[in-house]
Point group: C2
Chain length 305, copies 2
Amino acid sequence: MAAVSIYEVGPRDGLQNEPESVSTDDKVELLRRLAAAGLARIEATSFVSASWIPQLADADDLVRRLPPGPVYSALVPNARGWERFRKADIPVAAFFVSASETHNHKNVNRSVDAHLEAFRPVAESVRNEGLRLRAYVSTVCGCPYEGDVPAARVVEVVRRVRELGADEISLGDTIGVGSPGRVRELVRAVAGEAPLDGIALHLHDTFGRALANVAAGYEEGVRTFDASLGGLGGCPYAPGASGNVATEDLVDLFAAEGIATGVDLDALVATSAWMEDAVLQRPLPGRVYRARRGAAARAEGALSD
Amino acid sequence: MAAVSIYEVGPRDGLQNEPESVSTDDKVELLRRLAAAGLARIEATSFVSASWIPQLADADDLVRRLPPGPVYSALVPNARGWERFRKADIPVAAFFVSASETHNHKNVNRSVDAHLEAFRPVAESVRNEGLRLRAYVSTVCGCPYEGDVPAARVVEVVRRVRELGADEISLGDTIGVGSPGRVRELVRAVAGEAPLDGIALHLHDTFGRALANVAAGYEEGVRTFDASLGGLGGCPYAPGASGNVATEDLVDLFAAEGIATGVDLDALVATSAWMEDAVLQRPLPGRVYRARRGAAARAEGALSD
């Protein structure tokens, strides 16, 4: 039994930020490998408009080919996405909202209120069909346009998405400005509104603080952490553009702390190596992954001397 | 008044691991910029044999040209190094010992006992001349040859170097395997042997956990942290070979936590950019540095569209 749950978002949140589209066959193989590595919850794709995110244009095909094992989710941004989602056999629908008004407006051209009201019929459909609903609340530690986002504002948005029926709420530090103290304050504030077993942390590693923030969140009682294989969607040459903390980095941190994740680190590293060499043909930024590959390369060099 | 002290080791620990030697003029300019950025304690160089570390072969020249302001230290590996050090005007001598026997033996071909006894006359000379002594105890969280290093063993080596007269002891996680829980355990154990105001943490970022470990060490009461400008000595393409946590990453972490370091982050980033562009002509791995440069490059790209 895993003591913490790693929620793999690479196939959706990672691949949507990769410069090149990955073939549906390779996505299926990625999911198969992630499932084999022990990841029990995976966000597979998004039913977003193909003109908005062409990297995920194959969502309808992909969801017919999901390897068995994990509990999958898919992003459902609006009513059109819901019409596509309901034809698939996926138990968890996910949606987004920002904690900051300006970020929400830049993303979906609507206020937080208008966005949540527009989503309400979809949320009701999800509940009526007995499916689960995951909410991503972004910019919880800071907004690229507004700067600091008060914890009280995040708590208010958490209250609103719970009222819409969200079973799990993933708090996103979208721009990586969080710090351990900020994360502690946030988790304590949110715990007054919602039980922590329904709260996840989705931390970006822009300034190298994701693992410090994960450790703080764990100590405050959070037990679900989002991560992206190898840091998919980021780039080692431009960490400023980096996204989610790498799954390997999280799994290795918890292993070092003696906390079970149920995930096989070697299998993850092998999967990142396959993605890098055979699929993306560009380096992935994950720290543990790069350290493992570097050590392997040095050992090989030593052997061939 | 800074709440934490950042001990800059880039000019010694960083540059000794760079593939190419840096000119003495550039080293003087680096020290001038570090001093101007507010770094109050800097390890300038090492009086090691030039055949062992050619990158620091200019130590005798460099120490005659130290920019005023900071309190400098230099590494004194042995009696020959001491003869060179005593001709310079530097208030702090530093020396190394490993917490693990195998690592110490691989480094200096002697047991920990024999190494410390061989250094005893130098330590006595340092004290007799009214100078201060900084001890680096390495492999405190794990050894590349022996694996886990028990906290009790680190405490024993701390006791030994204090008995030699060390005023400050820097505990080094040489291979970056530490985790927040391990660091907490270690600091608590060491606090039973030595006051924490004489303890520093020297954390490597191999697996991306340095900042998580810094945060844990700070919470346990450590107030001095070693760091290397821009992650000097490491490489963004092979973080497995990375060394010290980057000074910028530490300064930005503490800034986000509202903890004063007295160091100007913008000046550090500008210094790393100068090192990268004008001196080393290879990228530096520091996370905050790379994020800042990436953001600047993207802003420039946007402006030129």
